[in-house]
Symmetry: C2
Subunit: 322 residues, 2 copies
């Protein structure tokens, strides 16, 4: 889909000047190797585009910016860069919820499994006096509509900022290629894979609180800054923002086999890798092993119900800067 | 000197187009904080230049590229970036003895205490059959002229490559600001501060070999890939290369008080920080503590003779891309 979007929609001849350097950024790239594969794919697709336009002699040099927050392990990223890469590599520390690059300096921006991270937990859900107070839970999917609305509002605000910042950084005609986990329109929010698993994580924390292993008040002041959108919601947000045209929008299945049973040990490791940082910061590191042992037991139910959650839950979105 | 060189010699109005983004690179930057201070100085000097030309309204955005080899601790660099910085930061992993940046993408390149690192040990000094074989030593300063010439030839080759690569990466009119430890012309190579200290390090290794703690053959196959040039030698190499004009060339004293006695514990730590990596790779980590204990004792003589070595041993060089 990425190849096709670049082949059909990237108007390289319309860039204000044929670029000397073609700049690609992967925002929220983590440590690799997925980011290396994605960047290589984009680079090759852009190269073919230049060739197809008989611009091969003008093939620019490529510079690839690997972005993630400053606590990301850039040392690992840099020491495992592919030795045969045909681009100049740079790491850019900082949140994609803020400005990261100079004005009009990028031609393609990629973000994969990244945009579900909110810039922060919506304030109301941790405010005792708000109807959106999320007592006894750490996530919105099984919570009241007030809580879910607060999450949705935060996502809308974050996405608008994200699109504004990237619109500043991407040249006119440049593209943004986004891969996101979504929930299919029509499903209830509690029926997302992430929702199910994060709810079980919250439920494991509450079990520990009932046994006196965690102070329950600590759970009331903790919520995961993660939101799962839908295809229609994303389309509305992009259109309302106004800086990008939607060139491609397609739901697909995750790469892993959606029919076979999930490997719950692997799944537990993934969830732990994703959220251990924020959990440790709030609850301390002592509870983590016990928490994920309990989570693993609860999540064992998941393979029985997972396939309906996973099918069609991956959104590919190709946007072009107006 | 850096401020002055930028104020008097950087022709911002002659850049092919007023840059949207002003790009600065620090090559061989290590982990900070020195690099942050240097970059801030350059950024402010360039800002004043724009103001002095009444171009303040066109003040570009700044992007700063922090470069060092891929094993550098970029995680520390990124997490200690100044919170109030007025530039977009990026880390670039790789040796400055190779290409690092796209063509004509940089306006100012800075390198401080970095260019004494050779790309490799000259091959002859580790070749038993060569007249330049450096048996029983790890450095060239007290060695034969053949050894010293092999080091000088490697430096000349490396510097020519360095200037060629940077000439490709720097825009016409862009500047290179270099700070280097040198030995004053007229002094013998053994009279450099680095030479004295590295020779004592080699001598400590030989003592350990004589006591059976190290295999002497291991010492014969190890040499430090470091060279101390002179001001005249640098000027000749820059002129022979031909891509840069020398705008400023000045010897100065290191920042530390050159008259007072050196803190040899600090000095030992500095030397260890600089060369522990290459030593460990060759000799293993077991010998390191013992080696530097012995070195510290030998180097105790150093404060008695140091001031004549240190005075005027810092070269500031401002080059402009033709």
């Amino acid at each position: 889909m990425l190849d096709e979007a670049i082949a059909q929609k990237l108007d390289i001849e319309k860039f204000s000047s044929t670029p000397n350097t073609f700049c690609i950024a992967d925002v929220g790239c983590s440590v690799g190797p997925n980011t290396f594969i994605a960047m290589q794919n984009i680079l090759e697709a852009v190269g073919r585009k230049y060739e197809s336009k008989a611009l091969a002699s003008e093939l620019p040099e490529f510079q690839v910016f690997f972005n993630d927050h400053a606590m990301n392990d850039f040392n690992t990223l840099f020491t495992t860069l592919p030795p045969e890469k045909h681009y100049f590599a740079a790491g850019v520390p900082g949140s994609f919820h803020g400005r990261l690059f100079p004005k009009s300096s990028l031609h393609v921006v990629h973000a994969s499994y990244a945009l579900h991270w909110l810039s922060k937990v919506p304030e109301e859900v941790q405010d005792k006096d708000s109807p959106a107070w999320n007592k006894g839970r750490i996530y919105y999917t099984r919570a009241s509509d007030e809580v879910a609305n607060a999450y949705a509002a935060q996502f809308a605000k974050d996405m608008d900022n994200f699109l504004n910042f990237r619109a500043t950084e991407i040249v006119v005609g440049g593209m943004m290629l986004l891969v996101m986990t979504v929930i299919q329109d029509g499903f209830h929010r509690s029926q997302s894979a992430g929702g199910f698993l994060y709810d079980e994580l919250g439920s494991s924390l509450m079990d520990m609180a009932h046994e006196g292993l965690i102070n329950e008040a600590l759970i009331d002041t903790f919520n995961l800054p993660v939101y799962t959108t839908t295809m229609n919601e994303m389309a509305r947000l992009v259109e309302r923002n106004g800086y990008f045209n939607i060139e491609r929008m397609k739901l697909t299945d995750p790469i892993l086999n959606v029919e076979g049973p999930a490997d719950m040990q692997m799944c537990t490791m993934h969830i732990r890798a994703a959220v251990e940082g924020v959990l440790t910061k709030h609850f301390g590191s002592e509870i983590i092993d016990e928490l994920f042992t309990r989570f693993y037991q609860k999540a064992a139910k998941y393979p029985l119900i997972e396939s309906k959650y996973k099918k069609g839950n991956l959104l590919f979105l190709a946007l072009k800067r107006k």
